[in-house]
């Protein structure tokens, strides 16, 4: 399919097909480059599709530096491949760039560098940075009297970081109601169940208690995600937290909820099996 102009509104069936195609591309890229974190990338794919193809993020791929654009920060930098594929699909840069992913000299490193490619707002990879920087971007909008919104996608493991909760306390104090956090809550972090490693639950109540307008959603229901994200600001005067229940490795039966795919690289036979399951031609 060709790059879509803004704003984007396509049918739920098409969104699902797009998600499947993106997931297959991620598997192929991981196989070819040997880059890990496939489960994490597949877990947040639908959130990215909702943001960029569900009519949420108001941004023109041809003007990625427009001061009025919505800011979208993928704070979980280890899932950068999912951001790259989504941005390429949306027309921010040529799809051919994806073929260079994680190879020497590519603009697309395993985790993004500053200004590495159009549409990539922040160099990430160290967790707990996206939200404070996003708060700064939202504060800048207030100071400049601009109307843009800021979306920050974080992982549940990322919520271990103290800087996340520093920012979580600060944003409501500033009444940054054009700021939205989406937590990709796949219940795993690198080496264990996220609720065994740290006392993460109840996440919705935690964000509420910190002063956010918090809700939860099926993180693989693209239309549902897009509807909630489009509602920012939601009229409460508070920043918005969307806890998206997801499945790590979503979309491929032998990867789903299997944390080995945090690091494992798919073999050729697995790529072929995944392709079949995802129904990609």
């Amino acid at each position: 399919m060709s790059a879509l102009p803004m704003p984007v509104a396509i049918s739920p069936a098409e969104l699902q097909r797009l998600s499947r195609r993106i997931r297959y591309k991620l598997i192929e890229m991981s196989h070819r480059s040997g880059a890990p974190h496939l489960g994490s990338a597949m877990s947040c794919t639908d959130i990215l599709v909702a943001a960029y193809f569900g009519g949420v993020v108001q941004i023109d791929p041809k003007q990625p530096q427009d001061p009025e654009r919505d800011r979208f920060i993928l704070s979980k930098g280890h899932a950068a491949s999912a951001l790259y594929v989504t941005l390429a699909e949306r027309g921010f840069f040529p799809r051919e760039w994806l073929e260079t992913f994680a190879t020497h000299g590519s603009p697309l490193a395993e985790q993004p560098a500053p200004n590495c490619a159009p549409g990539v707002e922040l160099a990430t990879g160290s967790l707990g940075h996206g939200l404070p920087v996003g708060v700064g971007a939202a504060l800048a909008a207030r100071i400049h009297q601009r109307d843009y919104r800021v979306f920050v996608v974080m992982s549940d493991g990322e919520c271990n970081e103290g800087s996340v909760w520093e920012a979580a306390m600060f944003a409501p104090a500033c009444r940054l109601d054009r700021l939205c956090v989406v937590v990709d809550y796949n219940k795993w972090q690198a080496t264990g169940r996220s609720n065994d490693v740290m006392s993460l639950a109840p996440l919705v109540k935690k964000w509420e208690a910190f002063g956010w307008s918090a809700t939860e959603v099926d993180g693989h229901d693209v239309a549902g995600l897009a509807a909630k994200m489009s509602r920012v600001p939601d009229g409460t005067g508070q920043p918005v937290a969307i806890i998206a229940h997801t499945v790590k490795g979503k979309g491929v039966s032998f990867m789903e909820d299997d944390n080995n795919w945090h690091y494992r690289i798919p073999k050729a036979a697995e790529v072929a099996a995944a392709r079949k399951e995802l129904g990609v031609e």
Binding site: P67, P114, L122, A123, S126, G128, H129, L131, P132, V133, G134, V135, G136, A137, A138, L139, A140, A141, R142, I143, H144, G162, S163, E166, A167, M169, F170, A173, C174
Partner: protein
Amino acid sequence: MRNAFAQQITALGKQDPRVVLLSGDIGNRLFDEFKATCPGRFYNCGVAEANMIGVAAGLAMNGLRPVCYTIAPFVTYRCMEQIRVDVCYHDVPVTIVGTGAGLAYASLGATHHSCEEMGMLRLLPGMSVLAPADEWEVRAAVKAALRHPHPVYIRLGKKGEPVVHTAEPEFRIGRAIPMRSGDAVCLLAAGTVLPMSILAADILGQRNVSTAVYSVHSIKPLDTELMAAVFARFKLVATVEEHSVLGGLGGAVAEWAGELPSPRPRHLRFGTGDEFLHETCEQEEARAHFGLTAVAIADRISRSLAS
């Protein structure tokens, strides 16, 4: 120094609508005029320095000129990785101001001492590290930092430091200020130790040791032009700072001089040691503990010249 900082940042804030002041829950009343004259551009970020630095980076990425202000150890050590990743890796113009640096808060204990932060920040690519010597240099350093399109760290004392200059000196990042001329010994002083360095030069002068003094307010970038001249001319060079002899001005000069051909002048480093200060004491006593007095500096230099 902190009053000079508050006055200068207020003046700059009035001129430039991009200036945003972030404080880590400090400076009660210090910024009242800034708040009154620059509405919507002062934020108390609370006792949450990691977030404060990230917020500053986000502001700078979107065209503003944020200044982060709190006690030196908390705005540096505490949030080192945010400074490294959010500010330096993205090379955004964030100015970080650490107040009460060195041993200024000696009596509050080693949690509040800041004798390693220049060394830590100096390691970060793209970061400038400034140690102004008095309130005039503070004003000039703040202006220079806000003109500079890259990250800057400024360390301040607290208040009531002796004033060395009679007016605002010409101040350029990376260019030291000559204070005294001489031809045998050269003292390179970083920050609030400048008055004691000038005094040490006077003592050495009484002993017929002609001693030059420079205010080396830029620890990074180092004034390498001056270093080349100094190391070509003097028989002894001494660095003086209220900072560890590891990693600060002494470290920077030693690194630079290490590549010079032999023979080269002796380099003595005056500063704090590789230790935490456990004594209960005021700043002057803490300085004396580390040999940071005019007499101790002059005596060690005299001994060195005699050996």
